[in-house]
């Protein structure tokens, strides 16, 4: 029984290390933005929280969520660049952008794991 536990742990750890090693190559140049307004709804906050958790869980400190208030003057260049009109969850690499807003708002409250998986898949495909 003990051996089995050790074995399982070993498999898990090797999995984590393998995943980290793999993501280390792929995460370069990827930016994740979350645009929001000054007044924020419950779901808006949850989307941010879940996205943050997902990035931490899969990529540690390699990718961090950049939470940006689109109504603040200092962010207007970024808002213009990505043509942000409302709440938006964006994954960017070079000039490729993926908009996950709809999936985020549909799943953040109800099935956060689905959103996390989607974020991971999207980043891996970039």
């Amino acid at each position: 029984m003990k051996k089995l536990v050790v074995l399982i742990l070993a498999i898990c750890f090797s999995g984590i290390f393998a995943a980290n090693a793999q993501s280390g190559v792929k995460t370069s140049g990827i930016e994740v933005y979350y645009f929001h307004g000054t007044h924020r709804c419950t779901t808006c906050n949850t989307v941010e929280k879940v996205a943050e958790e997902a990035l931490k869980q899969y990529y540690g400190d390699q990718i961090t969520l950049q939470s940006i208030n689109r109504e603040e003057e200092k962010n207007s260049a970024l808002v213009k660049k990505f043509q942000i009109a409302g709440q938006t969850l964006l994954i960017v690499k070079g000039n490729k952008t993926e908009d996950l807003t709809n999936i985020a708002f549909m799943n953040a409250e109800r099935s956060p794991q689905r959103l996390k998986t989607k974020i991971k898949e999207t980043i891996e495909k970039m």
Partner: protein, 232 residues
């Protein structure tokens, strides 16, 4: 909400999707507050209960006009960035002042003779029960109170479906009907189910006046709630 989202994910029929999006919108926080306020406004004509039901339908028509108009603007190439940015930034912020002003008019506190204000006052009070203008205006205005979540539902999901093909242009109407289902239901309920209560009300003309005052206070309260979110 979960149930609606499950349905939404599993349907490929745009008509049904638009309807589900509308229902989700109807029960999301801001439109819900708007709808409750609207039910108060619509239900104040207790003397003529059939009219209450028509008011509910006219309110829905107001929603349909606003949602379709924005849909058409996008269809004819308005910039998603500028137009929906504008609504999502201002839609919710303007609701507070608008509600407070309407409430004050209904309370007869405003006696100022601003050009055009007499017309607004007339529309809002509708004393002679002749027109549906006030309800239509309120229906159109309330539709534009986009909160963050409802903004995603409308601008993020409904509009892309609407503008993807000319046949999608009827979708905002379906969406509008769904967002107003609570209002339609309550106006129907007041109109046709409060039978004996209605007769009682009919005998008490003064009740009408009080209902109008209570509705006015409701408007002001919801308005202050919105002002509080954004400006205080």
């Amino acid at each position: 909400m979960d149930f609606l989202q499950n349905l939404l994910e599993n349907t490929q029929i745009p008509l049904f999707s638009a309807f589900l999006l509308g229902l989700m919108m109807a029960i999301s926080p801001c439109p819900l507050a708007m709808n409750i306020t609207a039910i108060g406004f619509i239900g104040k004509d207790l003397e003529n209960r059939r009219r209450v039901f028509y008011n509910g339908l006219v309110y829905t028509l107001g929603h349909a006009i606003s949602y379709s108009a924005i849909g058409l603007l996008f269809y004819f190439g308005a910039s998603q960035f500028k137009l929906s940015g504008f609504f999502q930034e201002w839609g919710e912020k303007l609701m507070g002042p608008v509600l407070v002003v309407i409430g004050l008019f209904m309370l007869d506190i405003f006696k100022l003779n601003i050009p055009g204000s007499g017309w607004i006052k007339e529309k809002m009070e509708d004393r002679d029960n002749s027109g549906f203008g006030g309800v239509l205006l309120i229906g159109m205005a309330f539709a534009l109170a986009f909160c963050p979540y409802s903004g995603v539902l409308y601008f993020g999901m409904l509009i892309p479906m609407t503008i993807s093909s000319p046949t999608g242009l009827y979708l905002p109407v379906i969406f509008a009907v769904a967002t107003c289902i609570p209002v339609i239901f309550f106006s129907w309920f007041i109109a046709f189910s409060l039978g004996s209560l209605g007769k009682f009300y009919n005998r008490l003309k003064t009740v009408e006046l009080w209902v109008r005052r209570i509705v006015a206070v409701l408007f002001i309260a919801v308005g202050i709630y919105y002002l509080n979110i954004f400006f205080i």
